[in-house]
Symmetry: C2
């Protein structure tokens, strides 16, 4: 399993409730693609949302997002990480 | 304190060691601006690096990155987050 960071643009004005609803919809079906969404962050001002996941492929991440109605604009494998 | 996600492009081929060195350099001086870098992720293939921090402002985040020689291309406040 690799970590992925996916990015959604055009989400200007997104609220905490909308972010939570979108994330909850992803969580509800993620296991059908072997994806584990770990966290999501939103910048309502620029309309950018970042989702961090563990998944078998970028395509698996995108399939979940597509099925829940919010296709990602970018999905990047992020095999390197530091704390 | 607000969370920030900053993004660096053009880092194609970055290694785990280079990511760690850059992050360690940031950590070494972050308190001078009241910034706390929490985690960083890299996609060596597209050359994209994401850094998550807590900070008093986007400018404070950028000042640390500039001083350590790797100015961010984007710094977004991400006041909304879900797990």
């Amino acid at each position: 399993m690799t970590q992925y960071m996916d990015v959604h643009h055009g989400m200007r004005g997104i609220t905490e409730e909308q972010l939570r609803q979108a994330h909850t919809a992803d969580l509800a079906i993620q296991q059908e693609e072997g994806v584990h969404f770990q966290q999501a962050w939103a910048d309502p001002e620029s309309g950018t949302v970042y989702c961090l996941s563990e998944a078998p492929s970028a395509e698996a991440v995108q399939r979940i997002h597509e099925r829940t109605g919010h296709k990602a604009d970018e999905v990047h494998a992020v095999p390197l990480s530091v704390r």
